[in-house]
Structure formats: C-alpha cells, structure tokens
C-alpha cells in the first residue's frame, strides 16, 4: 500500500508534514535534513525542487530556491541524492515542484524516477486539473504516485468534488489564497471555509498548508483537517547556523507548544 494512505489510516492525532527545499542550505544537505525530520517526529515530508520562477512562493522559499540552484541542485542531481532515500527515511515523501523542470526532465522519466527511489507523491502547483487529466494522469497512476491538488477559499464546491475524485492521497487545503510564507490569521471567514470543507465529507483526507508556522496555527488547523504542513517557517530555520541541531526543538515546539 502507498505510504501516504498508510500514514493517514494508522496515525492517531494530527499529522505534521514539513516542506523544505532540496539542496538548501547545502547541495548535499537534502537527505540529512529529511532523516533528522523523521527522527524529530515529522509524519511526512515535502521536498521542494528548486525553480527559478516560483510563482506561488513568497520570499523565504524563493530565496532558498535560488540558493539551491546556485548550489547546483537540479532534478537529475536530486534523484541521484534520493537513491539512498529508503535506506535512511521511512516516512512518506512527496516532491513539490513547478511544471517546467518536470517537463524538461520528461514526465514519464520523472514518474519512473520517483517510483524507483521510493517517492510516494507529487505536488505540482502550476499543473492544472485539465492538463493533469489529459496528459499526466495515466503516467502518475501507473507509477503509483499520488498527485496532490490544492484548493483555496475561492474554489467552488463543484470543483472540490472533482478534485476529490481525481485525488488519491490527500487534498491540500490552502488557509487563504496566498503565496507561501504569510502568517495564518484565523478569521471567522477562514473557520467557515474550513468547516465547509469538513462538512463536505470528502473521500480524501485534507491537510492545511500555507501560513502554518507555530503550535497555535498548527493546532487550529488540526481542528479542521487531518493535519497541517509547515514550509517557510522551517526553511527559515535552515538558513540559521547549526540548523541540524535546531530541528528536534523546532518539531517539538510545533507539536507541543
């Protein structure tokens, strides 16, 4: 069974997923960071493929991507690094990246490489539903890869149903329509939206992401979804000195406050 499904079925309590950029802060830090995150108690990971023009990202992830590219990170190098992934990390791994680097690597080759190294799912924010269905779906499915779609407070119920139908891992609920790295301000509107989604009783689990940075926002998100995803706040930590030593405390404080 796909590790993502297993995690959602077996884990009691809220799920914590961490995003970080591959090749940041150092070209070869990718797997060390992943391993440390698992040890510290993260439930699954999203490894970002750096891209020169990350439209959906705020300054923190933009800068980490630029640095990673300067460090020499490419899709090819990433798959090289991930050859040892399953010797060192057992939790689910998703790759998150923009469509152009995937296209240049070759979609079929990309899916095959994911399957080969033990990646469980993919998030491509600028790959829309229509293009996914027409051109990519069969390749993802034949490699047993979950494709994760995003939804926002502006996404219509009809479209959410369609996305639920196409999804086979979880649905990525954006706390608001925003780029990454803004702080979540939970208003009654946001809560209404979270509640609306919860009441739709979707077949896929949901994770809330964008703007989750501390225990308070993580706990709030967990009330309405299966868990939450932390990105920019963790990438910021990776920019500090002795970042490896700081990972356990970062995860602990997210979970326990």
């Amino acid at each position: 069974m796909n590790r993502i499904k297993q995690t959602f079925e077996q884990k009691k309590g809220s799920i914590l997923s961490i995003y970080f950029t591959a090749g940041y802060p150092e070209l070869n830090s990718t797997l060390n960071v992943a391993e440390a995150l698992e040890k510290a108690g993260a439930d699954f990971l999203e490894i970002g493929i750096p891209y020169s023009d990350p439209l959906a990202d705020g300054p923190v992830i933009q800068n980490s991507s630029q640095k990673a590219i300067e460090n020499g990170m490419t899709v090819k190098v990433l798959f090289e690094q991930l050859k040892d992934l399953r010797k060192r990390v057992s939790i689910p791994i998703l790759l998150m990246g923009y469509v152009n680097p995937v296209l240049q690597y070759g979609v079929e080759r990309f899916c095959a490489s994911c399957a080969e190294v033990g990646v469980d799912g993919v998030i491509v924010p600028d790959l829309p539903v229509y293009e996914y269905e027409e051109m990519y779906r069969s390749c993802f499915e034949s490699n047993n890869l979950s494709n994760i779609f995003l939804i926002t407070p502006q996404t219509s119920d009809e479209r959410i149903r369609k996305i639920d139908e196409l999804s086979n891992g979880f649905i990525y609920l954006l706390s608001s329509s925003s780029t990454t790295g803004k702080n979540l301000a939970v208003s009654t509107q946001t809560e209404d939206y979270f509640r609306r989604i919860k009441n739709m009783k979707l077949k896929n689990p949901a994770m809330i992401g964008f703007g989750i940075s501390n225990n308070k926002t993580f706990s709030k998100a967990s009330e309405y979804a299966n868990g939450a995803i932390v990105g920019s706040a963790f990438v910021k930590l990776l920019g500090c000195e002795n970042y490896m030593e700081k990972i356990p405390e970062f995860i602990r404080s997210l979970k326990e406050g």
């Binding site: 630029q66 680097p101 329509s177």
Partner: protein, 393 residues
C-alpha cells in the same frame, strides 16, 4: 491551417493555463466572459470611442519615402508611436480596463518592462478612477526613469521587483503573486500576448486594431489591402500579433517577427527566444522559453527593456512551429543604428524596441516594387537617455 486558439486554450501544442489553483477562479471568470463582453455592442462602442477620442486612432499609415528610396521598396510605417502615451500598449489597456470595470474589479495590477505598458495602465486607471499598482524590475526602473515618473504622476504605485534578474520576467512573477494574494477585487492587466489562456487571445484581439486599420489604409493608398511583407518586433509579441492578426489567413503576406539578439545570439547576452529557447512553461502558458537543460529560466538581455523577456506568446510559438511567420533577430548595435537612421531620414525617433524591426530592412532583398508595412510600436522619448549614452549625443 488554423492560427487561432482552440476551445481548450491551445494553439497547436502551445498555450493552456498552467496556473496555481489560487488563480483558477479569476482565469475561469475571464475565460467564460471575455468573448461575450468584447462582442457586446455597448462595449464595442465604448472601446472604439476611447480609441478614437482618447488614444487618437486610427494611427496613420505613413509612406516613408526616403527610407523606401534607400531600400528599394514601398515602406509604410504603422505609427503606433503617435498613440496617446507613445506606444501600442494602450490599445490593450483600454480594452482590459473596460473588462475589469464590467467584472466589478476595484484594483488593477500590471507588470512593465520598458514602462510603456505600466504608463498605459496607469493612464486608463486614472481615466476610470481605479487603484493602480505596477510591478517593474529594479533594473528597468533605472533605465526607464521618465516612465516611472509618468506613472507616479497619474497616481500609480510603482513597486520594484527585486527577485531574479530584476527585469520584465521578475516583474511578471511579482504581479502574478500579487494576484494570488488579492484574488477577489483585483484584475491583472497583462501587457503582452503572454500568460495563461485567455490572455494571449484577449490581448491579441485588442491589438488587432493595428492590422484592421492597416488593411483599409493600404487599400485607400494603394488600391490593394495586402502588402508583401509585414514586420514587427517581438518581446512578448503583442505589437507583432496585432500587426499580423488580420493577415494570418492571407498566406501571400509574409510575416517577419524580429527578436532582440542583444550582444549577439552566441554571446550569452541575448533575448532571441526562438533561436535560443525550447518548449517549456513560463508565466502560465506552454510556449518557447529560454532555459537551462534543467528547466530553469535563463535571464535574457537586450538593450531594449521591452524586448528583454525570455519567452514569447504561445501564438507566436505556433506561428514559428508552423513556419507561418519568420523569426529573425537583430543585435543592440544594429537596432541603435537603425533608430538613428530613421531619425535622420524621416525625422522620427523610434523606441529602441521598434528599431529592431527597422534594422531588419538591412538584411532583406527587395524585388523593386514590393510593399512593406513595419509596425512602429513606440516613440523614442523614453529611450533618449540610452540613445544619448550610446551615440555620445
């Protein structure tokens, strides 16, 4: 051959709407309403009324006699430089501001390279009393200072794009990010035939007034509405698409699109997209993109801020792939000299962007009596500083 967009937003294999879900509701709204709105007689009347009384259309089609004599052809200049605000960009912003108004949007955002699109956007926002925010690369803010001042005078906020190469590509990223963060009350007026569907088609339709007028003007002047050659420069490709639009299906008319070679196509400092690029996705559409093997977008270079873009619109990619239009490139030096030549021969100082189209005349061989129309997309006022430095004026 069909050169127009299909119902899924594609021109052959190019186009589409590669956008994050956050932008989907806005793009869907545009997609479902733009054709109907543009076709609405009330919209049309207001659009054409503004083009006539505010922009000053029709723009003249001028037979440049001394230039014609030099090259041995009948060379006509389509004088988009005489439009209000000094370039073709305003044809599109007038159309889009009317759309935005009908969609009930209160806030307008735009990206700009040379500043011409930013100025044209600030202008129509002032006209309609709407809030206007323009993203502009930090590098371009320096080299196009007069346009920054013009935008500010008209009440726009100019925000420097500090990421990447700090030019047009990055300004476009920042505008898209702004739209993601302000999805409800904001309309994004894209300045060229780029972006997710329906933008390339929508902008092409608004710019198509250029070739629509050219046809009847030519008929009036020569008794024949089809020229032998139609030429224009290509940044994202909006003046070229407007200039080509009504000639696309008349295969006897040869279309020439001129890209910026910068310091030379092999110099590593160039913006000749069709020559140096590959198929890829940039700013929401699949097209031809200058990029590394790994799919990272390459930072382009041109002396002209308006052509300093690593992609072209998807319809251009289709015209290139089907060979309907010929894509060529001109270096900084060739363009600068062509600009100076037009000033000396015709008393017209062109934008450096437009000078690229003019410069290609030097590389053509005419059979004598052929008719050529060149889109003079803008005037050179904004570029005086660059001309002064280059020629030690």
């Amino acid at each position: 051959m069909n050169y127009q967009v299909n119902e899924n937003g594609y021109y052959g294999t190019f186009g589409g709407a590669y956008i994050p879900e956050m932008l989907y509701p806005n793009i869907k709204e545009l997609r479902e309403t733009y054709l109907e709105m543009i076709a609405d007689p009330v919209f049309k009347e207001e659009y054409l009324g503004l083009l006539k009384d505010y922009v000053g259309r029709p723009s003249p089609l001028y037979l440049a006699e001394r230039l014609s004599e030099k090259y041995g052809a009948n060379i006509y200049l389509k004088r988009e430089d005489l439009n209000h605000t000094g370039a073709h960009k305003i044809n599109n912003t007038v159309g889009q501001i009317l759309l935005a108004e009908r969609l009930g949007k209160k806030r307008i955002i735009a990206e700009t390279g040379a500043g011409q699109h930013g100025v044209a956007t600030a202008t129509v926002c002032a006209l309609k009393g709407l809030e206007c925010v323009v993203y502009m690369g930090e590098v371009d803010i320096e080299r196009q200072a007069p346009n920054v001042a013009r935008m500010k005078m008209m009440g726009a906020t100019v925000i420097p794009a500090l990421s990447g190469s700090r030019t047009l590509k990055d300004a476009t990223n920042e505008a898209l990010r702004d739209w993601i963060n302000n999805p409800v009350d904001t309309h994004y007026i894209i300045g060229s035939v780029v972006g997710p569907h329906p933008y390339p088609d929508m902008v092409a339709r608004f710019q198509s007034i250029i070739s629509e007028e050219t046809k009847w003007q030519l008929l009036e002047k020569t008794g024949n509405s089809s020229p032998d050659y139609v030429m224009a420069c290509v940044g994202g490709g909006s003046n070229a698409m407007g200039m080509f639009y009504h000639f696309l299906d008349n295969e006897r008319v040869k279309l020439i699109a001129v890209e910026a070679a910068g310091k030379g196509v092999d110099s590593g400092e160039s913006a000749a997209t069709t020559l140096l690029g590959k198929e890829g996705v940039l700013h929401g559409s699949r097209s031809i993109v200058m990029q590394t093997e790994d799919g990272q977008v390459v930072e382009p270079y041109s002396i002209s801020a308006g052509l300093d873009y690593p992609g072209i619109g998807p319809q251009h990619a289709h015209l290139y792939a089907t060979k309907r239009a010929q894509y060529v490139s001109i270096t900084d030096d060739e363009a600068m000299n062509a600009g100076l030549q037009l000033a000396k021969l015709e008393g017209i100082i062109p934008a450096i962007e437009s000078s690229h189209a003019l410069a290609y005349l030097d590389k053509m061989k005419f059979k004598g009596d052929e008719t050529v129309v060149i889109c003079l997309s803008g005037r050179g006022d904004k570029d005086l500083d660059t001309y002064m430095k280059y020629f030690n004026l």
